[in-house]
Amino acid sequence: MSAAPQDAAPLLKVEGLRQHYGGRGLFGRGDVVRAVEDVSFEIRRGETLGLVGESGSGKSTLGRALLRATVPTAGRITFGGEDITAWTAGRLRALRPRMQMIFQDPFSSLNPRMTVGGIVAAPLVIQRQGLDRAARRARVIEALATVGLPERAADRYPHEFSGGQRQRIGIARALVMAPDFLVADEPVSALDVSIQAQVVNLLMEVRRRLSLTMLFISHDLAVVGHVCDRVAVMYLGRIVEIADTRSLFSGPRHPYTEALFAAVPIPDPTLRRPRVLLDGDLPSPLAPPSGCAFRGRCRHALPACAAAVPPLRAVGPGHFAACIRDDIALAAPVAA
């Protein structure tokens, strides 16, 4: 974990962000997918925020919205003190070098027809840094060295590399512009276990060396616990709990967080335990249930849970949860 000063100014601030999809087509109306609903949080400079949730929770959509890959439906995104919510592509262009992304799929994120050198140099070319060929090459080699790849990698094509190496190439591309802020969208979940740790360690090392601020999106709570200073848990487009990592791991306050922890399989056959806490699937984001979206799967649901969407409220220092119940004891993976 990186030591982020508690009083540092937020680099990124999100208020009431909504991202909806669909709803209008050429012929007739489509359904509206509420991928992100009323999300607010901030990330301090130098901090790593983990974003955890199952597929369909809206975590990837949120990550992309922060980078203004999409036009938010509502809400406000403030980056480095400036409101970038409505910035045009032209204006965003100057900001792009400061915010970069690492993708999940190391096969689809690299252009198969470009050499690795071309891929890593692309940000420099696009941003018209006024570098000549040799200077660009030097920057590319430097970036490749940072991620542990040799110079000769620059002249080869992506398919000549393994999944882990390709993920390193993606990281080199993100780092070549020396960004302040990085969104890592499931950066290790497509990799083999023995390779995952290599890439996580690399990310933690470059984060420290370049004092990066990071949003680390993952469905793997164990990896998130390892990498992040704070963790936000998403369910059906909303943040249901957000807290410092230790606080969350030692005392989750939302039943969904507890269920996520319980579902992580532990590689110890002597510890077999019944651990299915959740029935059913994520409800459809086309027609979310009234009130708390989680209540249909929740062991602790009350009739009152259907009344209104529970707001995030403070349940401890820096610890917020969107659950109306204070009277339930939830299991934690780590002792307080």
């Binding site: 890959a69 070098p97 689809s108 252009n111 027809r113 941003q127 591309r173």
Partner: protein, 302 residues
């Protein structure tokens, strides 16, 4: 369907077709093309035809317009005129080769034009999507709704026919296929993360289209272009055969066929030779297109 639940997953196909290196991938494409016998034969036929049309007329001691009434309707493979002569005593071989220059030129030029137009439209429609994409593709559909032969003839009736105008007309009726192929390809490519990666670097739409997407669609474009040549040669033959295309005395395979109609009983070779040239040319380009399709099939890249 009984075996449906047991069908091996796509992962297996990937496993089996995994190619380790770029060099291998490329020589793999060449290797696959060379294994396609008809395609290789087609390529050889095209090369031979191009060579013959370019050099042939220089070596044959007759002019395509030289009229020799005394030797009209000379039969083929006898005497000095190898393929015989027509109703005016003109040497058929040299006329065939000169006509080939025209037909092949129109074929390639129309291909270049319609590929350029089709690629541009397909690229923009595929990348932009949404309303722009829908509007462009509806235009493509609209043009496709016209029976292309009638469109060709209608256009040809208004325009003074010469090589340039015929090429333009054929290209105008031939770009839609390319546009569709490219649009489909670009739509799939656009969904890949490298497109988003480029956008997040601040790349303009033009950069993404030309640098990221287009170079991944080259294979299908080449295939479509090859098939377009065949189509264009055939279209030129139609139009000229019906009398709206290249005008006598300049020869094209189409108007030679038209001319031969009257003498079909007495001098069948006048129809057989141009017909054969058209068949061989069109078939060859189609075979090469098929071969290229197999060879450039996207399995190479993963």
């Amino acid at each position: 369907m009984t075996d449906a639940p047991l069908a091996p997953p796509r992962r297996l196909a990937a496993l089996l077709s995994r190619r380790p290196a770029a060099g291998r991938a490329r020589s793999g494409a060449l290797h696959r093309f060379l294994r396609h016998r008809l395609a290789v034969a087609g390529l050889a036929a095209i090369a031979l035809m191009l060579l013959a049309c370019w050099l042939g007329p220089l070596l044959i001691p007759y002019d395509q317009l030289f009229i020799d009434i005394r030797h009209r309707f000379a039969g083929p493979f006898a005497g000095p005129h190898v393929f015989g002569t027509d109703q005016l005593g003109r040497d058929l071989l040299v006329r065939l080769l000169m006509a080939g220059r025209i037909s092949l030129t129109i074929g390639f030029a129309a291909m270049a034009l319609s590929t350029a137009v089709g690629t541009a439209i397909g690229l923009v429609a595929g990348y932009r999507g949404g309303l722009v994409g829908a509007a462009l593709m509806r235009c493509v559909d609209a043009v496709l709704c016209f029976p292309s032969v009638f469109l060709l003839l209608a256009l040809a009736a208004f325009i003074r026919p010469n090589v340039v105008t015929i090429t333009l007309i054929i290209a105008a009726t031939g770009w839609m296929e390319v546009a569709r192929v490219v649009q489909g390809q670009i739509r799939t490519l656009k969904a890949r993360d490298f497109t988003l990666a480029a956008e997040l670097m601040g790349a303009s739409g033009f950069y993404v289209m030309t640098n990221e997407l287009l170079r991944n669609a080259v294979g299908p474009i080449i295939v479509a272009a090859t098939l377009t040549v065949a189509r264009a040669i055939l279209a030129e033959a139609y139009v000229s055969f019906l009398g709206y295309g290249i005008q006598a005395p300049v020869a094209s395979w189409g108007n030679m066929l038209n001319n031969a109609q009257q003498y079909l009983g007495s001098a069948p070779w006048l129809a057989i030779f141009p017909g054969l040239m058209i068949t061989v040319a069109v078939a060859s380009f189609n075979f090469v297109g098929d071969g290229l399709r197999d060879a450039l099939d996207a399995r190479v890249e993963l």
